[in-house]
Amino acid sequence: MSDAELFNVLIRFHDPLQTARLRRALLSIVAQDHKSARPVILLQNFTRIQEEHVRGLAMSVFRIEPDRPKPLILNIKGEERDMRSRLLTEGLSIKGRFASFLDFDDYYYPFACSYFAYRLEESGAAITFARTVGKRVFPTGPVDYTLDREIMFTSQSGLGELFKSNFCPINSFGLDLQRIEADDLYFDPSISRCEDYEFLLRICSKYQSDFDGLTRAVSVYAQRIDASGSTNFARGDYNPDHDAEWEKGRAKIDALKQRLKSEPNRFTPFISKSEREAMHSIA
């Protein structure tokens, strides 16, 4: 199988103690119907031993499907405290036909990649969206105890809604890399919050998007109720600086939205005339 046919599932992994959750995510990829699905694990400043540990884990999960593409591990070094944008951008630069994102503590249903690929080919879009099941869990050791589940954001759909707010978790969309210019395949490195929304707004403003796939849930988003999965607590050190990072991300989104209101793009039909005129008068 050539690299050009691969479906890269990009998993950002930054915390070596969470290997049980990563293992679960990998299990969901090895079980994909799509035979070209390959996990690309993006590590942030791991030591050599830690990197080898992750590699061993990934290879052991994929030993049960020896004919599948082997997992790819990239250990990216840098000074920044939170390198999420850089990691995801590096992941997008890897050769492949399709790409999607999966948080290490979440997982896919077995048809996720084939569904994304099918929707992208069927619609001719550059990006396709599906639903995500939210599971509220609390961690009980290396595993989670699921309290309840429901499909998330069911009342929202379409470009207009996406412009208002982000109802598309990072696990819920797939990209056709052939239909997006390489220059657009990046996450804004200046922000470490709302970077996925910024990416979605930018891509959807320029390229055709497909929301018809929202009839189906393809992934599970684990919401840890002790907040250990949230960015403010992710490394256990609550820090008001995180709030500042959120503010920075939101400001970036606001600025991008203002720009999108003032120039023609794929969101334009969904933005009210009065809003557009207001933007023109400011300009």
Binding site: P16, L17, R23, R24, L27, S28, A31, I49, Q50, E52, H53, G56, S60, V61, R63, I64, E65, P66, Y107, Y108, Y109, P110, F111, F138, P139, T140, G141, P142, V143, Y145, T146, L147, D148, R149, E150, V220, I225, D226, A227, S228, F233, R235, G236, D237, Y238
Partner: protein, 378 residues
């Protein structure tokens, strides 16, 4: 919270000193010394998690009553919360731990994996077998695999290639009956029997986790793996792991229980035999448990809408209701069967040869949630 923090800090201090002493001579994870580091890490994390869970459980009830996220932290200051999580993080980073004495050798354990197959594809079977082959098992566990073919009599290249013994009945004798034959044979020399569906596969540590938990219970518990990616919604206790019944998709059955309880009731052809077995076990005081660390990949997401499957389930549910004396559920299943069965289609007979359980076993059986047979989480 204060106690938690203090005791935790003491432990952290010790761990920290040990880490510093060992850090400079870190052994690769693959070596025995490396494995000991992992064991220490796991043990400490487990110990911390127990304490952490007590706190969480305290708040879980309150949390369930509200959807407003910050409410969960009632009574816990942000600072406390942050410090607790920070401590956990530090503990977990004790990846480079000290040398530990070897764990005492456990006695040799024979485990038989039994699979009832029914016209499954070679792809499914080879994936399952590879997952068994790739399972991370302690040295004292030795594993063998048996298939029981309830389907068409055709060669199975996978089974032949991997020298898996295949038994045949010539006809479909049902799920429970096939497992009973395999269990009877297995318990001649095995300590545990793991029953597993052919259309799933084991996560790498699932088998070891099932055996470990069963050994911890001195072989007196029926234990199921958690199905993944969609687990059964029935409630299990997050601390004791008790649940109302265990699924037949992936379960471990110790010899002791076979001798005490026997196997599945063969009046069930397909479905509900696992519920019946679990309830019979609980009548004898044998707990039925979920092992959350054992993941069994079993895709059940697109199963709804299969009318024959539904009909089989209703037939099994009807017998379960008859056996466990639930008149309401009996009439519910019969009404449903009439609806799906069409005109003139007779229901299977229930008669003198079908055993029945005594009345008043309500704490054990549960028909209130219909085919979930237990309180559900969602």
């Amino acid at each position: 919270m204060i106690f938690l923090k203090l005791s935790f800090q003491v432990k952290l201090g010790r761990v920290h000193r040990e880490i510093v002493a060992q850090a400079s001579s870190a052994a690769p994870l693959e070596t025995k010394r490396g494995l000991n580091r992992i064991r220490l890490f796991r043990r400490l994390r487990k110990s911390f998690e127990k304490k952490r869970m007590r706190i969480l459980a305290k708040f879980a009830k309150k949390e369930r009553e509200t959807t407003d996220f910050p409410e969960f932290f009632i009574g816990v200051s942000k600072q406390d919360r942050a410090e607790t999580l920070l401590s956990l993080c530090k503990l977990a980073k004790a990846e480079i731990g000290p040398e530990l004495p070897e764990a005492p050798a456990m006695s040799a354990t024979q485990v038989r994996v039994g699979v009832v197959i029914y016209n499954n594809t070679d792809e499914q079977l080879s994936r399952l077998l590879r997952s068994i082959e790739c399972s991370a098992l302690p040295e004292h566990i030795s594993l063998s695999v048996t298939f029981f073919n309830n389907g068409e009599d055709r060669p199975s290249p996978v089974a032949e290639k991997l020298s898996v013994s295949v038994q045949k009945s010539g006809k479909n004798i049902g799920f429970g009956a096939a497992h009973n034959i395999m269990m009877r044979e297995a318990f001649a020399d095995c300590d545990y029997y793991i029953g597993v569906n052919p259309d799933g596969f084991f996560e790498g540590e699932a088998i070891a986790s099932l055996v470990r938990m069963s050994a911890q219970k001195q072989g007196r518990a029926l234990i199921e793996a958690v199905q993944f990616p969609e687990e059964h919604p029935k409630v299990y206790h997050p601390k004791t792991f008790e649940t109302n019944w265990i699924s037949g998709a992936c379960f471990i059955y110790p010899r002791q229980i076979w001798e005490e309880l026997g196997g599945f009731d063969e009046h069930f052809f397909l479905y509900c035999e696992d519920v019946d077995l679990s309830w019979r076990a609980r009548v004898l005081g044998i707990p039925t448990l979920t092992c959350p660390e054992a993941l069994f990949y079993h895709d059940t997401i697109d199963r709804q809408g299969n009318s024959e499957r539904y009909r089989q389930m209703l037939i099994a549910g009807r017998y379960l209701a008859y056996k466990w004396r639930s008149d309401r559920f009996l009439s519910f299943t019969e009404n449903c069967l009439r609806e799906v069965g069409g005109n003139g289609r007779q229901l299977p007979q229930l008669g003198y040869n079908c055993p029945r359980m005594p009345a008043n076993l309500a704490p054990v059986n549960s028909f209130a949630e219909r085919f979930h047979f237990a309180e559900t989480r969602w």
